[in-house]
């Protein structure tokens, strides 16, 4: 079984971004970039499926500028066999990404597509579900446990209020949650090996996909600042303030 893992290059999770002065976007120039944490978990799960003898090949794919090849190399250092880069300088909405990923999935005939549940920049939580819909595949989102049983996949999902287990036939789409696994670190030998693994570059045109404009970002603004609070010196003072000043208890 071939597993396809879409990955995204995002601003590192520990960096607090600032909005540009002209409110056109957030300023990402010179910021540390990384593999989206949820995508890292997706890669780890696919590699574990390979190590368990269930997956035969793990292919990672990313849509974006030439710089995303850095994250594709990272994913290969974590154990993916090869990479596909769909090169574009445009900022695309999740639906457009899903259409491109569908074209790659069909080309590769991957039986399982493992997504991160959301990217930490756009916070959309859409792409996996959209690709599943376009491919008319069943989906299991927000997975915290994945088991492949023959031609079926059994997934435990994190839902509001608890956990839910679903079973569905392959091919299927899974999107992963934080609790699924603990991603490994890439060792230096593996980073060196990843440099020699195959990386194919495609354009939107050669995948045969036509995209359209869906939305315009009118502006990006900073959220309202909270005004500085006060430090209290004792529990008594805290209770007094909450009762008489804030009037919340």
């Amino acid at each position: 079984m071939k597993v396809l893992v879409p990955v995204k290059r995002v601003v590192d999770a520990n960096v607090k971004v600032r909005v540009k002065a002209d409110h056109s976007n957030v300023d990402t120039a010179n910021l540390k970039m990384a593999l989206n944490p949820f995508c890292e978990i997706a890669v780890e799960e696919a590699v574990r499926l390979k190590e368990a003898g269930i997956a035969t090949e793990v292919v990672v794919v990313s849509v974006g500028t030439k710089a995303v090849q850095e994250q594709l190399r990272t994913a290969m250092a974590l154990g993916a066999d090869r990479a596909i880069h769909v090169e574009t300088d445009e900022e695309l909405v999740p639906l457009s990404i899903a259409k491109l990923l569908l074209a790659v999935q069909q080309k590769e005939q991957a039986q399982l597509v493992v997504f991160g549940k959301q990217s930490i920049d756009g916070d959309n939580n859409q792409t996996g579900q959209m690709m599943a819909a376009l491919a008319d595949m069943p989906q299991a989102t927000f997975a915290s446990e994945v088991k492949v049983e023959g031609d079926n996949i059994v997934v435990t999902r994190e839902i509001d209020g608890g956990l839910q287990t679903l079973k569905m036939p392959l091919p299927a789409v899974v999107s992963v949650d934080l609790r699924l696994n603990e991603p490994r670190y890439a060792s230096l030998p593996n980073i060196m090996k990843a440099k020699r693994k195959p990386l194919d570059v495609h354009t939107i045109a050669d995948l045969g996909v036509t995209l359209k404009a869906h939305q315009t970002v009118l502006k990006v603004t900073p959220p309202a600042e909270r005004k500085a609070g006060i430090m209290v010196s004792s529990v008594e003072e805290l209770v007094e303030k909450l009762r008489n000043e804030a009037k919340v208890i």
Partner: protein
């Protein structure tokens, strides 16, 4: 222009989130219809009929919708979609699972976690863990969006909408196996007026008992940071943050939580924030209205005694 709202319910009860999404729909303006899809969900439908501003409740009652699977729920909405300019749901686990499927099948982009309505085609949503707000104008004919329910006040229950049933039951290839829900007598995290949250500083799951005692005295819900969930102190559905629940209660008490970007994303719109932490440098103090630098194992029992 008509708006379809996907109801959030557990078959027996309509969740308060639905009344908040209806409030967002009212801000867009137009005829509001609510879809209640489930199994033996008459009670939930009845509550939906009373929501102010709703003119019609569409009920799809069948065993195939019992577990709100995205596959058949998505198709059901597609079948109804011709009559609607906007399709809304709460940004809940069901809404986030289902609506992107609907949007993709309609070939429109989805707008996630809307917190503000500028006009019928322009919406505000947070990006980068809430560190920026994007104002987005949709160019699509139909607008499919999930609504952050903490950003809207629930509508009242003064209405009496008509009730119609849809006959088709659409099967899914996905098979429901089992479900385990966290049992709690405390208020639901998303709708609680007060939330008491614990982090890594709690040290263990047993130590959460003192927070639960505090929560019970305040009639509060209990939340947690990712560190507390990962350490196994509490179940994951209590996680507050970018990837957990987004809350905005009147009072949020953060105990032993440092205040990482991802946690702040889930609670910084709370009206009053209290931080109790022994590290005076903890970032949580930068957003707290009232900060107490103290060992939580001294402060929480003292607080429990005072309340």
């Amino acid at each position: 222009m008509s708006i379809l709202v996907l109801a959030e319910h557990d078959n027996a009860h309509l969740k308060a989130d639905t009344a908040k999404v209806v409030a967002a729909a009212s801000a867009i303006g137009g005829d509001i219809h609510v879809l209640v899809a489930g199994h033996q969900c008459a009670e939930a439908a009845k509550t939906a009929q009373a929501l102010t501003g709703v003119t019609k409740v569409i009920v799809a009652d069948s065993a195939v919708y019992a577990n709100h699977l995205a596959e058949n729920l998505g198709k059901l909405i597609i079948g109804l979609s011709a009559d609607y300019s906007h399709i809304l749901s709460a940004a809940s686990s069901v809404g986030k699972d289902t609506l992107p499927r609907v949007a993709a099948l309609l070939d429109v982009a989805q707008i996630s976690e809307v917190i503000g309505i500028e006009s019928a085609d322009t919406f505000i949503r947070p990006i980068y863990a809430g560190n920026a707000l994007a104002t987005v104008q949709s160019l699509d004919a139909k607008k499919v969006m999930t609504v952050r329910s903490s950003a809207f006040d629930a509508v009242a229950s003064t209405g009496s909408a008509e009730l119609v049933s849809v006959g088709d039951a659409l099967d899914a290839r996905t098979e429901f196996v089992s479900q385990t829900l966290t049992e709690s007598a405390r208020p639901e995290l998303g709708n609680a007026g007060i939330i008491v949250s614990g982090g890594r500083g709690m040290g263990s799951g047993e130590n959460f008992a003192i927070l639960e005692q505090l929560a019970d005295k305040l009639g509060a819900a209990v939340g947690a940071s990712r560190a507390a969930v990962d350490a196994g102190f509490v179940p994951n559905d209590l996680q507050v943050g970018q990837t957990g629940k987004i809350v905005a209660p009147d009072l949020y008490i953060a105990v032993g939580i440092s205040g990482a970007i991802q946690h702040l994303a889930g609670m910084k719109d709370s009206k009053v924030i209290v931080a109790i932490n022994k590290d005076p440098e903890a970032p949580i103090f930068q957003v707290a209205d009232y900060g107490l630098e103290a060992d939580l194992f001294d402060a929480i029992p003292a607080l429990n005694n005072l309340l």
